[in-house]
């Protein structure tokens, strides 16, 4: 891209947004006066900008704003409840699992194949749980803004 073209794009953007100072305004007008293609291009962008300026996003009703903070507050409070429930559930699950394994190992009345299958099932579930939890934790920790485009 030529320096002239680059300058035109910068000045045109500022002109569209009303951000030109007096010197830049003169410079921009001189560029337009020299070239009809540039005049046409500027006019097209100006029309697009004018249409965009007539478009406004609707303001929701006052009721939405009145409830907004309350909804955020409730979510924060519930988030804390979920953390406590998760901690409690994790501890109980771990303890229950431990007790179950202990019971299976102690119970000699069960066939060894059934005991082995039950132990295998419990170990598999525990591994799966740890693996999912680890994946979630590391994804969250290592790349919090991976979708942010700069």
């Amino acid at each position: 891209m030529t320096i002239e073209r680059e300058k035109f794009e910068r000045l045109m953007t500022a002109a569209l947004d009303g951000e030109l100072n007096a010197d830049e305004q003169r410079e921009f007008e001189a560029l337009l006066a020299e070239d009809e293609a540039l005049q046409k291009e500027f006019l097209q962008y100006k029309q697009l900008k004018e249409v965009a300026l007539t478009m406004k996003l609707k303001m929701p009703s006052q009721e939405v704003w009145d409830r907004y903070w309350l909804d955020v507050y409730n979510r924060i409070e519930r988030g804390i409840s979920w953390v406590l429930i998760s901690i409690g559930a994790a501890v109980l699950l771990a303890y229950g699992g431990y007790k179950l394994v202990e019971e299976i190992l102690r119970d000699t009345s069960l066939n060894w194949a059934v005991r082995l299958a039950m132990l295998s099932l419990i170990a598999g579930l525990a591994l799966l749980l740890v693996s999912v939890a680890r994946e979630k934790w590391f994804t969250r920790k290592s790349d919090p803004y991976k979708e942010v485009l700069r």
Binding site: R10, L48, V51, K58, P60, L70, E147
Partner: protein, 204 residues
């Protein structure tokens, strides 16, 4: 019974119990000390800006409301990482933006039509007494621009929305996106060029 709980929740969330909250940093400090209600100061201050930024990106009222509130919740949880003295909204905006972009990617959202979530800014109309035909044409044109806008890359859409729909200055956009003003201008130009070619392609 529900009414009693609603009242209790309102009381708990009441921010008037914190008259000492004067600015964002003060509110952040109180939040760090465990006063959840102080966060209401920040939420009320920025909820409208947050909602409109999200609405522009996802194009749906319900999703914008939900995502902007969720971003406030996440910002609250991460409040210890906020650097005092910096702009709270710029920091919050990064969380919101990230949430919206993930949401767009995961849900493959289709924005609502402009007539559903937008309205005409009458003060900007060049001739308010236009004919019915012109008015219909203009309405169609706005729908076309909105459709084309939502077919752009999120980053292009975002910068056009911030500048042309929400009237942010170059400096404010630069702060929000953490880029120099020169980059704001070049990104704005590229985004408008992409919008123009998108319009020419889908509505030749």
């Amino acid at each position: 019974m529900e009414h009693v709980w609603e009242h209790y929740a309102m009381e708990s969330a009441q921010t008037s119990a914190f008259p000492q909250v004067r600015d964002d940093d003060e509110a952040v400090r109180l939040c760090r000390q465990g006063y959840r209600q102080a966060y209401g100061f920040l939420v009320k201050e920025y909820m409208q800006r947050a909602y409109f930024c999200a609405l522009g990106l996802v194009g749906s009222h319900e999703e914008a409301l939900d995502l902007s509130q969720e971003a406030f919740v996440r910002a609250y949880r991460a409040i210890n990482r906020f650097e005092l003295g910096r702009s709270f909204f710029s920091w919050y905006y990064k969380i919101l933006r990230n949430l919206c972009l993930n949401h767009i990617r995961d849900k493959k959202l289709h924005a609502r039509s402009f007539s559903e979530i937008g309205e005409v800014e009458l003060s900007r109309l060049q001739d308010e007494r236009q004919s019915v035909d012109t008015a219909v044409e203009q309405t169609e044109l706005r729908e076309k621009v909105w459709t084309a806008l939502h077919q752009l890359k999120p980053a292009d859409r975002e910068i056009i929305l911030l500048k042309d729909f929400q009237d942010y200055s170059y400096k404010e956009i630069a702060d929000l996106l953490e880029i120099p003003i020169g980059t704001v201008m070049s990104r704005l130009f590229n985004a408008r060029r992409n919008l123009k070619s998108k319009l020419e392609r889908i509505y030749p």
